[in-house]
């Protein structure tokens, strides 16, 4: 492949997982270039890569990877900022000036003397970006920088990257699957497929180009493509609204969900805090999830979503209030089997092969040796991970890890599955797959409760959504009503359809509303 990037450009790299995006980025940064056979030439700043001095290669090219935690190398924020400049051998005074300036630019002043362990995920990634910027690079390589962040933190990081590009003229190469904000601001869209560049176009043309795969498009362009629009595709909410404005539409229709008699899990007036002197995480919270339904709990950071899941799972006990499972008081004893899929599924893996891990569950569920092996194979088959059984869990992709973890939990025959941020950091394809899996769980009669930031997924897969704020449920409704009722905290599709297609909250809603005419 060949391509070149001009100074000051913002280039968005997209492609399915395994298309070689990360490898491409890492090859540009000599220090971390992957092992293997290489051909061809990489030229940086008009010179061959080999001519670049070690010092320049470190300072001129900045690299931020997706792992938020593992990139931190020191225990305090200011030391983290100073790390790169210390490597370059700058004098102390110069380093102090640089880290002060960078901290100010990124709004890290208040965190300056904090321990890195006390930062939130978003703050950590911002720090990773800032500490690369201390070396004053002219090229910034970003490898899925928002993959482990929630949407709000991701937006903040992306706006910082845009500022660096616009204000400081830094060349940015970013590979990212959260494209709604970046797509319209990029100078060029580079699409990779199986190690080749298939598209190299400015965003407006790229949005309507067939070579750009569907998942890499912003929501606006996805709707345009699904409706078979022709000409220049809309790439922002406003453009899509004007595209839809002249269409004749019918209001979106959401069938009433069937009511089931008993809630599988119900929480009544629960209060929870971690320690006596802490604040209440949950206060006077009441919530219920019907048997065999999918319920999504939405809310900002620290709203208590994960804590609520832990209480239902029996990991934490409320200091006041009741937890009913299958209609029975469960604070002391669990009447129904609950399992919790953590945010990072790898926390569930204990052994060096997926098979052994699944077998552990099968044994815990009381299967004998042969029955256990059969059960493992059956569950793996159902989830489509038979081919992965003898791999190391850490060698799997994020989506595969999630499936393997889910298989491990399903072998325990749970009645209620609690999923913590199941679509966090996933690309379009894996998200689709997760939504399909959740639907399959529902079809099996399992009760699913999801804590998520992802409004799009919640709108697509749930029967009911609840908004958690300040420790209690503010509103709870079927997704159609839920997301039309909220003006800001809603799906991008609802933003597009507001006032044009009443009640539309998913792209299916919009497409159906237009097609029915």
């Amino acid at each position: 492949m060949s391509f070149s990037v001009c100074e000051g450009e913002l280039v968005l790299l997209c492609g399915r997982s395994g298309s070689g995006k990360s490898t491409l980025l890492k090859l540009i940064k000599r220090e971390i270039a992957p092992f293997g056979e290489r051909g061809g030439e990489i030229r940086l700043f008009g010179r061959s890569e080999e001519d670049l001095s070690e010092r320049d290669s470190v300072s001129k090219i900045g690299f931020v990877a997706q792992s938020v935690e593992a990139q931190l190398v020191t225990e305090t924020v200011w030391r983290e900022l100073a790390f790169g400049a210390e490597s370059l051998g700058l004098p102390s005074g110069e380093i102090r000036r640089r880290i002060a300036e960078t901290a100010m630019y990124f709004g890290l002043e208040r965190l300056f003397r904090r321990k890195t362990a006390t930062l939130s995920g978003g703050e950590k990634q911002l720090l990773n970006l800032a500490s690369v910027m201390v070396c004053e690079p002219s090229v910034l390589l970003l490898d899925e920088p928002t993959a482990q962040l929630d949407p709000i933190a991701a937006k903040k990081l992306i706006s910082c990257v845009l500022r660096l590009n616009r204000e400081l003229g830094i060349t940015v190469l970013v590979c990212e699957h959260r494209v709604d904000e970046l797509f319209s601001y990029a100078d060029r869209i580079l699409c990779l497929d199986k190690g080749r560049i298939v598209t190299d176009l400015p965003p407006k043309t790229a949005a309507s180009d067939a070579s750009v795969f569907f998942g890499a498009l912003p929501t606006a362009a996805q709707i345009f493509r699904r409706l078979g629009g022709s000409g220049e595709a809309p790439i922002t909410t406003a453009q899509c609204r004007s595209f839809l404005a002249d269409k004749k539409v019918t209001p979106a229709f959401h069938p009433d969900p069937e009511c089931t008699s008993t809630p599988a899990a119900a929480i009544k007036n629960v209060f929870f805090r971690y320690g006596k002197s802490d604040r209440d995480i949950l206060s006077d919270l009441s919530f219920s999830a019907d048997t065999g339904s999918v319920t999504s709990i939405l809310g900002g950071n620290g709203a208590g979503k994960s804590t609520l899941l832990k209480i239902i799972a029996g990991v934490e006990k409320p200091y006041s209030g009741k937890l009913l499972l299958g209609g029975k008081n469960a604070v002391k004893k669990h009447a129904l089997k609950t399992v919790l899929l953590p945010q990072s599924p790898r926390e569930l893996f204990m052994t060096s092969s997926v098979y052994e891990d699944l077998l552990e569950s099968a044994c815990a569920a009381g299967y004998g040796k042969e029955a256990g092996e059969a059960a493992v194979n059956k569950t793996a088959g159902e989830l489509g991970i038979t081919a992965l059984l003898h791999r190391h869990p850490y060698d799997l992709s994020g989506g595969e890890q999630q499936k393997a973890a889910l298989a491990k939990l399903l072998l325990l025959n749970p009645d209620i599955l609690l999923l913590d941020e199941p679509t966090k950091g996933m690309d379009y394809d894996s998200k689709r797959e997760t939504i399909r899996l959740i639907a399959a769980l529902k079809a099996k009669g399992k009760t699913v409760i999801i804590a998520t930031h992802d409004t799009q997924t919640a709108a697509l897969c749930s029967d009911r959504c609840a908004l958690l704020f300040d420790g209690s449920v503010v509103c709870s409704d079927a997704p159609g009503e839920f997301f039309t009722g909220l003006a800001h905290y809603t799906t991008p599709e609802a933003h597009i359809a507001r006032g044009i297609i009443p009640g539309a909250v998913t792209s299916d809603d919009i497409v159906n509303a237009v097609r029915q005419q």
Partner: protein, 306 residues
């Protein structure tokens, strides 16, 4: 920072020399006056910073009594025999030596507590940074990993508890459950370490001529404390060589006469040892709140309104 003591605001160099001097004198001395001074000021500092409780005092006193009473059982030197135990003499000198040692042990423990409070990891890394830049990186990274390991362990345990895979029905089951999680934790940390290594390489760890940045400043107070430390160290060294503060327990208790040098040694040591407490009391005086640990909104408001 809410729980910062006034003394810890000094430069790491000052702090380390101060602690080195005071701890050396405390650990080495056989002079009961120096030991008593050391205990007095270390206890005062503890009371001013973390506070002391009745329970803490009684436990410490019992500990000290034990040290004092146990010594005559092992050491039978001394001329003043109090009584015989199993045909072995129990002497007054040995009892007194035990009492002196109890002062030494207790004040060392208290000063070490103060050391932990004042020499934060930031300052330790500063000390290592100049002579051992690579080691400083190693320590800093280890300190970064520690809390991450702790939270990961908690999350793994939660996930397994939720799934009913964490067995803590018996001590044996608990150990084997913990071991299982610990082993998985090792996998996670080792796999993640590759990303960390990349991040370090990308930011030039392997370049030659690494420097060490410091955000600490050497202020007039540092000069003052440092001068005091040097003066008392000189006095202590001189009187130790000239045997001006000589104090012997065996065979009989004997000590030199109180001269100018002796007075200077005691005085300068006392002055040095009182510095942390003095700073703690005077620095926050203007803020009308000596309990620096209180970080309640009320306390913060009252500080800002003064």
């Amino acid at each position: 920072m809410s729980n910062e003591s006034a003394f810890s605001r000094l430069h790491p160099l000052t702090l380390s020399l101060w602690f080195f001097f005071v701890l050396t004198v405390t650990v080495m001395t056989v002079n009961p006056i120096l030991a008593a001074l050391s205990l007095l000021f270390s206890a005062l500092y503890k009371a001013l910073t973390t506070g002391i409780s009745i329970k803490g005092i009684s436990v410490s006193l019992a500990f000290m009594l034990l040290i004092a009473l146990l010594n005559p059982l092992f050491s039978h030197h001394g001329v003043t025999v109090l009584f015989f135990l199993n045909d072995l003499p129990v002497t007054l000198e040995s009892l007194l030596f035990g009492g002196m040692m109890s002062l030494v042990v207790m004040s060392s423990v208290l000063w070490c507590g103060a050391l932990a409070l004042c020499m934060t990891s930031d300052k330790v890394i500063w000390l290592f940074g100049k002579p051992f830049p690579k080691l400083a990186v190693l320590i800093s990274l280890t300190l970064r990993l520690l809390p991450a390991i702790k939270t990961s362990y908690g999350r793994m345990k939660d996930a397994r508890t939720a799934a009913g895979l964490y067995d803590d029905s018996s001590p044996f089951a608990r150990i084997s459950s913990s071991l299982r999680i610990f082993s998985a934790l090792v996998t996670m940390i080792l796999e993640d370490s590759i990303d960390t290594a990349d991040s370090m390489k990308a930011r030039g760890l392997m370049l030659r001529g690494r420097t060490s940045c410091s955000i600490f400043r050497f202020r007039p107070a540092d000069f003052a404390v440092l001068a005091l430390v040097l003066l008392s160290a000189a006095a202590a060294a001189y009187s130790s060589v000239s045997k001006a503060v000589l104090f012997t327990f065996y065979p009989a208790v004997s000590y030199g006469s109180m001269g100018a040098v002796t007075a200077l040694t005691y005085g300068s040591f006392a002055l040095t040892a009182v510095v942390p407490s003095f700073m703690e009391v005077t620095l926050w005086k203007q803020l009308h709140s000596t309990t620096y640990r209180s970080n309640t909104p009320q306390a913060r408001n009252s500080r800002s309104t003064v």
